[in-house]
Every structure is written in structure tokens, then in C-alpha cells.
């Protein structure tokens, strides 16, 4: 595979004192693809990005850029473009000077002539739609504009690889969404091998060609956004990607039983303790006067109604289309029964899930849950 990967990460480990930031990480990044490193804070994703850039040295392992061992090269010689989380623009330079910086510091023998530099910078500023701000200083720009200047500056040196550290984290929600779309479009246009770090699963799933889910210094799963969401390799991945309800259960003869004997559904898995996850939209509610659950809270947000359903000692999240909620004609405080349409059962948290299926379509599970906090949100 090494001849097809743009970046090959071979057994990278890194520790800071007693903290293991990266533990034997392997990863191939293909030419022209946009890869997301996704994980909670402390999962090692930023350390990995900084090691690829050469800002940090790994304790062991190799980074290959194509056929070449990048470990031998300094950060400045790796030809990577890096966009920092807080942009790291040179505050005493104008936007133009910021973007030109990487071209001006080239040794004189290889440096472009002054006019060629000006042309290139102008083109880049047009690419990021900021030509009209060339003479401003970074402090005079909005967050989204600074981000785009940082991107133009990184692209100016015509890098082989573009690395972005939490590129949208410091922006407000609306700008973030716009900039995300814009970056995806830009990627389609320039087709530069890119790696970005994020803790936001929506961002990773929407933007990336492939998602690398990381946890505690290890790669949990690598796959296309659809695959990691629908076929998570571990309980961690399932939990990290989107809202879900976590239910402690045990499996007996192919049936998934809750702690007090209620039946959640069927599964093809060996007997024993397990954890079942059911996402909010995979839960159905059926109004019933003697139902085992009740509606604690309901909020309408866009096309979905989000319910918090009290069930025993736990709260479960349920989501449904507004139309269905209206048709059901129920309100906060009403009792109901719950049914899982689908779900994921992990006998081993570190292995892929078995599919949870309704025992009979539409079956209720009417038992209480004695599990610590039924709701997991990200």
C-alpha cells in the first residue's frame, strides 16, 4: 500500500510524561482525500496532526510522505500547510503580508520575483474571497475571515498536504456551517490531500471522505462517514457518533433482557452481559394509560420533536417527526410504552455490535432500567 498512500503513519507512539498521547497508531492517507481525525479531547488527534507536521517528534514510529521518510525532515522542509485552531496569524502584518510570508522567506536563489509573489497572493486571496481585505490587519477581521486568511497563507507555499487543527472550533454555529460547506467545495476544487482534527461528529461526517475515530491514543475505527455511523467497530464509536441511549442488558437465548426481565428485542449473540444502544430516532412510543414510561419534556426543533422520556430511574431521548407527534396527540406527563425498532448490542465493548431487532415488530419493553443514567449525549 505504501506506494499509493500520500501519508503513511507507521506505528507512531508518543507520551507526555505518564500520559500516553498516541499508542502505536497506523494510518494511510490517500492522495487527494479529506480525512477527519475525530475524537474527544485527550484522544491524541491533535498530537497526531502535530507529529505529521513535524511540530512534535514521535517517541517511535515513522511518518512516510509518499516513499520518503518525513521523520528526517524539519517542519519547515515538509511542505505541509497548517491551519491552527486560533489561526496564528502574524498580528503585525497585513493580510497580504501574512499570505506572502511563506513565499518571502524562501532563500533568494529559489524565491519568486516580487511581482510573481504579489500575483500569487492576490490569486489566493481571491480564492478565499478576501481580496478586498488585503491591507487590513488580523485584528480587524472576523473569526471566519481570519480562518480563511490562515488557509490562504497555508496554501501559498503549495503544500503537498494540508493539515487543519480544529478549523471551525472557534467560530459561531452559523459561520461554522457556511465555512464547512465552503471548505468542502474548495477541497473538490484543489484536491489537496487534507487532514483535519475535530471533536464535532457532525463536522467530521459531513466534511470528510474518511473518518478516523480516535480514543485514548488509539484508532478505534477508520471508514467512510456512513460506515462508521451505521457499523461502528466499538461501543465507543457508536456512543461518540451522535446521540444515543445506553441500556445495560443481558442476553439469554437470543433475547435481549433488561435488568428486571423486560425484553428489549432479539439478537444473534452469545449469552451474557451486554450493552445495548438505541438511538433516539430508533425508539417508538405508543401511548398507553398503564404505560411504563412517561413524557418528561418535549421540545420542537426544526422538523423533529425531541422527547425526554422518564423510564424507571433513567431518562431516554426519543426523536420523531413533528407530524407523527401531532398525530399521536399526547403531551408532557402522558404515559406510554416504548419499543426499539433497531439498535446495537455490544457483548464486547471493543468489538462490533450485533444488530438488535424487535422480537415481534411493535413489541413493547415495559421494564424499568436500573442502569446508571440511561442517556448519553455528545
Amino acid at each position: 500500500m505504501s506506494n499509493t498512500a500520500a501519508i503513511e503513519i507507521r506505528g507512531i507512539s508518543k507520551r507526555f510524561g505518564n500520559h500516553v498521547a498516541l499508542d502505536n497508531v497506523h494510518l494511510d492517507i490517500r492522495p487527494g482525500e479529506l480525512v477527519a481525525l475525530l475524537g474527544p479531547s485527550g484522544s491524541g488527534k491533535t498530537s497526531l496532526l502535530r507529529i505529521i507536521a513535524g511540530l512534535e517528534a514521535p517517541d517511535s514510529g515513522q511518518i512516510m510522505f509518499g516513499m520518503e521518510d518525513a521523520s528526517r525532515r524539519h517542519a519547515g522542509e515538509r511542505e505541509v500547510g497548517f491551519v491552527f485552531q486560533h489561526y496564528a496569524l502574524f498580528r503585525h502584518m497585513t493580510v497580504f503580508e501574512n499570505v506572502a510570508f511563506g513565499l518571502r522567506v524562501v532563500p533568494r536563489a529559489r524565491r519568486l520575483p516580487r511581482t510573481a509573489i504579489a500575483d500569487r497572493v492576490t490569486k489566493l486571496l481571491e480564492l478565499v474571497q478576501l481580496g478586498w481585505l488585503a491591507d487590513r490587519y488580523p485584528s480587524q477581521l472576523s473569526g471566519g475571515q481570519r480562518q480563511r486568511v490562515a488557509l490562504a497563507r497555508a496554501l501559498a507555499i503549495e503544500p503537498k498536504v494540508l493539515l487543519l487543527d480544529e478549523p471551525f472550533a472557534a467560530l459561531d454555529a452559523k459561520v461554522r456551517k457556511e465555512l464547512r460547506r465552503w471548505l468542502r467545495a474548495l477541497h473538490e476544487e484543489v484536491k489537496l490531500t487534507s487532514v483535519f482534527v475535530t471533536h464535532d461528529q457532525d463536522e467530521a461526517l459531513e466534511l470528510a471522505d474518511r473518518v478516523v475515530v480516535m480514543s485514548a491514543g488509539k484508532v478505534e475505527q477508520i471508514g467512510a462517514p456512513g460506515d462508521v455511523y451505521t457499523a461502528p467497530a466499538s461501543a465507543f464509536v457508536h456512543e461518540f457518533l451522535g446521540d444515543t441511549n445506553r441500556l445495560a442488558c443481558h442476553i439469554a437465548a437470543g433475547r435481549v433482557l433488561l435488568a428486571d426481565g423486560g425484553v428489549l428485542g432479539r439478537v444473534e449473540a452469545p449469552d451474557g452481559e451486554a450493552i445495548a444502544y438505541v438511538r433516539p430516532h430508533e425508539l417508538d412510543i405508543l401511548p398507553a394509560k398503564d404505560g411504563s414510561a412517561f413524557i418528561r419534556h418535549a421540545s420542537t426543533f426544526g422538523p423533529l420533536v425531541r422527547l425526554v422520556v422518564g423510564f424507571g430511574t433513567a431518562n431516554l431521548d426519543v426523536a420523531m417527526p413533528v407530524e407523527r407527534w401531532v398525530r399521536l396527540g399526547i403531551a408532557v406527563g402522558d404515559r406510554l410504552n416504548l419499543a426499539a425498532r433497531y439498535g446495537a448490542v455490544f457483548s464486547d465493548p471493543a468489538a462490533p455490535a450485533a444488530q438488535l431487532l424487535p422480537e415481534v415488530p411493535g413489541t413493547m419493553f415495559a421494564a424499568s432500567i436500573c442502569q446508571q443514567g440511561g442517556t448519553q449525549r455528545n
Binding site: A75, G76, R78, H92, G102, V105
Partner: protein, 280 residues
């Protein structure tokens, strides 16, 4: 509601931060009593025997030579302080080494030490039979009792001004700007000149100015090491003391007034330079 008669509408315009009148009175009053009044008295005294006497007191070759020695050595010492002060601040902020806190604290010593003590210590070290002076004799360099000695003493008192001015700026300098420059291919020298220096230049100029101003007026540490040879290593503050010893108060005041004007003019120029640099 816009036309409602709130109490403020009748009185003075309300300010968000209260107490301008009071604090303005206190500060200008203090400044006047402690700084402006004594200076005005000195100027008045210098002119008490008329302008010709004032000019005569200054147009002495010995006085002019002292001015030259004072300004040149203060300027040179401030430049050296700026260079080494920046280095010292850099080392103190960028590296962690045993004894760092000790050195950090020691930087302030010249502030606290009676300058005469420093002068005597420096003289003992740099005299031809001192620890350092003895090493320099074979090289034909004599520090003590020459203008070079004045420079050494002024660097000693000027260095902490530069270090303390630059240090906080270097501490606040975000590491990611340097990292960004490195990733864009800049060499260490380019990072220093294009990223770090522009950020700390205003503070460096401030430190330089303070070191220079202090050097112009420094007395205690200089007189022991300078040797005070007229025309060669005699400084202006010493001339003033000599005039006072001879009960020539008008002459002392005249030199003092000239010193005041020169210092003020030079500090103005530096201030202007700084404002110009900051505006760019």
C-alpha cells in the same frame, strides 16, 4: 421616554467611569509639587544672574566635554543594554534551567542596590589589579578610570530596565505564531527578525529609553569607576556636584537646566520614533 427629565439631564454629563475631577486634581497636583515645581525652581535659579551668565556657565570646554561624554556613554550603554537585555529576557522566558528563578530575581538587584556600592564593586573588579581588570591589562584594555568604565557602570544600571520591559511581551508571545512561521519555511533567523522582533520592538524601545534616561542622570555608580578626568571621563552630574561644592548654585542650576533640556529633547525624539514605529 427620550425626553424624560432624568436627574442626569440637568447636571453635568454622566460618565461611565466616575471621579475624573478628583483624580485629575490629585495627579496634576502631585506632579506639580513633586516634579514640575522643583524643575521650574531650577530653571528660575539658572537664569537668576541673567542670560549671559547662563550661557557663560555652559560655554565652558570642560562642560561641553562632560555633555559629550555623558550622552555618548549613556547612548552606547543603552544600546548594549538593549541587546543583552533582550537576550537575557529571551533566555529567562524560553528556557527552563536550574537557577532560572535565582537569575530572574538577580536581574532586579541593580534597582535595589545603592548605586555607589555597585560603583565600588565594579571599580574593584575592573581596576588594573582587579579580577577582570588584571585579565584585560595584557590586552591593553583599561576599563576603570576611562570612558569605558562609565559604559560598564551604565550597562549595569540600565540592563534591568530592558529585561523587565521585554520579558512580559516575550512571555505573552503565542508559540503558534512561531510554529506557523516555521511550517511556512522560515529559518530561525527569519522567525526572530520577522515574527518575534516586530512583536517586542515597542517594549524594547521602551526599555532602551528608560535605560538611556537613567544613564543620562546616573551618578553614584559612575563616579567611582570613571576616574573623573576633566575633558575625558567626567560626567555632567558630577560637574553639578562640583559646582555645588564651590557654592556656585547658579552655575549648577545652569548645567542642570541644560541637562534637562537635552534629556527632554532626546526622550521626545525617541517617543516620536516609537509612535511612528507603532503606527506602521
Amino acid at each position: 421616554m427620550a425626553h424624560a427629565t432624568s436627574p442626569a439631564a440637568f447636571g453635568r454629563p454622566r460618565r461611565v467611569i466616575p471621579g475624573l475631577g478628583l483624580s485629575f486634581t490629585i495627579t496634576t497636583g502631585t506632579l506639580a509639587v513633586l516634579v514640575l515645581l522643583p524643575l521650574a525652581a531650577m530653571v528660575a535659579m539658572s537664569l537668576s544672574k541673567g542670560v549671559p551668565a547662563f550661557v557663560a556657565a555652559l560655554a565652558d570646554r570642560r562642560v561641553l566635554a562632560a555633555f559629550r561624554v555623558t550622552i555618548v556613554s549613556a547612548l552606547a550603554a543603552a544600546i548594549i543594554s538593549a541587546i543583552f537585555g533582550l537576550l537575557l529576557a529571551w533566555v529567562l522566558t524560553r528556557y527552563r534551567f536550574p537557577g532560572r528563578r535565582f537569575i530572574d530575581a538577580a536581574v532586579d538587584l541593580p534597582f535595589a542596590l545603592p548605586t555607589a556600592v555597585a560603583g565600588i564593586a565594579l571599580t574593584a573588579l575592573y581596576a588594573p589589579n582587579g579580577w577582570i581588570g588584571a585579565l584585560l591589562v595584557p590586552l591593553g584594555i583599561s576599563v576603570a578610570f576611562t570612558p569605558l568604565g562609565i559604559g560598564v557602570a551604565l550597562v549595569f544600571v540600565g540592563l534591568p530596565f530592558v529585561v523587565r520591559a521585554v520579558q512580559p511581551i516575550l512571555e505573552d508571545l503565542p508559540a503558534d505564531e512561531e510554529e506557523a512561521a516555521r511550517l511556512l519555511g522560515a529559518t530561525r533567523m527569519q522567525i526572530f527578525l520577522r515574527v518575534i522582533m516586530p512583536a517586542c520592538a515597542p517594549a524594547l524601545v521602551t526599555g532602551f529609553t528608560m535605560a538611556f534616561a537613567r544613564g543620562l542622570g546616573e551618578y553614584g555608580s559612575v563616579i567611582f569607576i570613571a576616574g573623573n578626568k576633566p575633558m575625558l571621563s567626567e560626567i555632567v552630574p558630577l560637574l553639578i556636584v562640583i559646582q555645588l561644592d564651590q557654592y556656585n548654585y547658579t552655575g549648577a542650576a545652569a548645567i542642570g537646566t541644560a541637562m534637562l533640556l537635552v534629556s527632554f529633547a532626546m526622550l521626545m525624539v525617541i517617543n516620536r520614533l516609537q509612535a511612528w514605529a507603532a503606527a506602521r
